[in-house]
């Protein structure tokens, strides 16, 4: 049965789009049929991170308004045949999205895919509430930093009250994904620890993505980090997280960079 997963956070710049691309690619590599949907109308970026920016013809708003068919707006990934992208509109504003319109697209996507991953815009306005509206599960992307944790808590409250599932008296299955984590800084007491964040948010952990230069490197070239360098620390962390989404039990650890001899000699550090 198809699952609708929203990747959300409240706060901007914590890694929602990076995580959407990486988890989507990883699920597709595991044989799942996946569509990643950009809900950031007016500020689309998932197309760029996925390397499909030059292939966008129609978008989510065109489909909502009946200008284009869903099949015309879906873009198939050039690397993974199981992975598709539904881009957001760059020219329209978020008021062009309606609850009914989004509902009917999600219902249609459910018949075609195993996973529908909705990349939420930042904030708590219309775009963000519609991205989570039809979700079965949610990934709350959180940085180990006070403002991000506070916003995650707010978003968790919205997932428990403003979604279709919540209104039916059911629960959206929530997972916290901690990104930009630095084990050494946390050990020195300079950064909130995993335990701190989980205790405050009282939500199960999906994965820990270490701070890494590989994330920027992958977005520079338009490739999900799991495809760009599968052996990198963030790629391994995202791959583990994707397997947990599929119901597998994977030991939770923070993957670390495998430093080469030159890196060690020159004392290079990740980020």
């Amino acid at each position: 049965m198809a699952k609708v997963l929203v990747v959300t956070s409240g706060k901007g710049g914590v890694g929602k789009t990076t995580s959407t691309a990486a988890l989507g690619a990883s699920l597709a590599q595991n044989g799942e049929k996946v569509v990643v949907v950009d809900f950031d109308v007016g500020l689309r970026n998932l197309d760029l991170v996925m390397g499909a920016e030059r292939r966008v013809v129609f978008d989510l708003i065109n489909v909502v308004q009946g200008v284009a068919k869903l099949s015309q707006a879906l873009i198939r990934d050039k690397r993974l045949e199981n992975l598709w992208l539904l881009p957001a509109s760059q020219t329209r504003d978020k008021d062009a999205l309606t609850d009914e319109g989004v509902g009917s697209i999600i219902a249609d996507l459910r018949t075609r895919f195993d996973w529908i991953i909705c990349d939420s815009p930042a904030g708590i306005e219309r775009g963000a509430t519609l991205a989570m509206r039809y979700a079965d599960e949610a990934v709350i992307v959180t940085n180990p930093e006070v403002s991000s944790v506070r916003d995650s808590d707010r978003i968790i409250g919205m997932l428990d009250s403003k979604t279709v599932k919540a209104e039916k008296g059911e629960q959206v299955k929530k997972h916290v994904l901690i990104t930009r984590y630095d084990t050494a800084r946390a050990a020195r007491g300079e950064m909130l620890t995993i335990e701190d964040i989980l205790e405050i948010l009282a939500t199960p952990l999906l994965g820990i993505i270490p701070e890494s230069q590989d994330v920027l490197r992958a977005s520079n070239v338009g490739s999900p980090v799991t495809l760009n360098n599968a052996a990198s620390a963030p790629a391994r962390a995202y791959t583990d997280a994707a397997r947990r989404l599929m119901g597998e039990t994977v030991t939770m650890l923070v993957p670390t960079e495998r430093k080469g001899l030159m890196d060690r000699l020159l004392g290079r550090r990740a980020a």
Partner: protein, 93 residues
């Protein structure tokens, strides 16, 4: 132990416990308010309704402010009445 030793030698105190404590206090407060209508908006609307029963006024000229202090909080209601305002004879009383 190693973390505290490191901290001792680096001469810095750990800031993460401060972050943790501030978050716990703040979120406990914010969660208690969640789901309730915005108090100030509610007060503004109800005060406006009461005054409007007797005096014609511009809804935009009703300002309700709340200031939270350490020991005392104040609620300030500022209603601008139109010049030469007349007492309306409210049919409903």
């Amino acid at each position: 132990m190693s973390a505290s030793l490191l901290r001792f030698f680096s001469g810095r105190t750990a800031s993460a416990p401060v972050a943790r404590e501030r978050l716990q206090i703040l979120l406990a407060h914010e969660r208690s308010l969640r789901g309730q209508p915005d108090l100030l908006e509610l007060l503004r609307e109800e005060i406006l309704a009461v005054v409007a029963r007797h005096v014609e006024l511009d809804p935009d000229k009703v300002i309700v402010k709340m200031e939270r202090g350490e020991t005392v909080s104040t609620l300030e209601v500022d209603i601008e009445l139109p010049s030469g305002c007349q007492r309306m004879i409210a049919a409903a009383g």
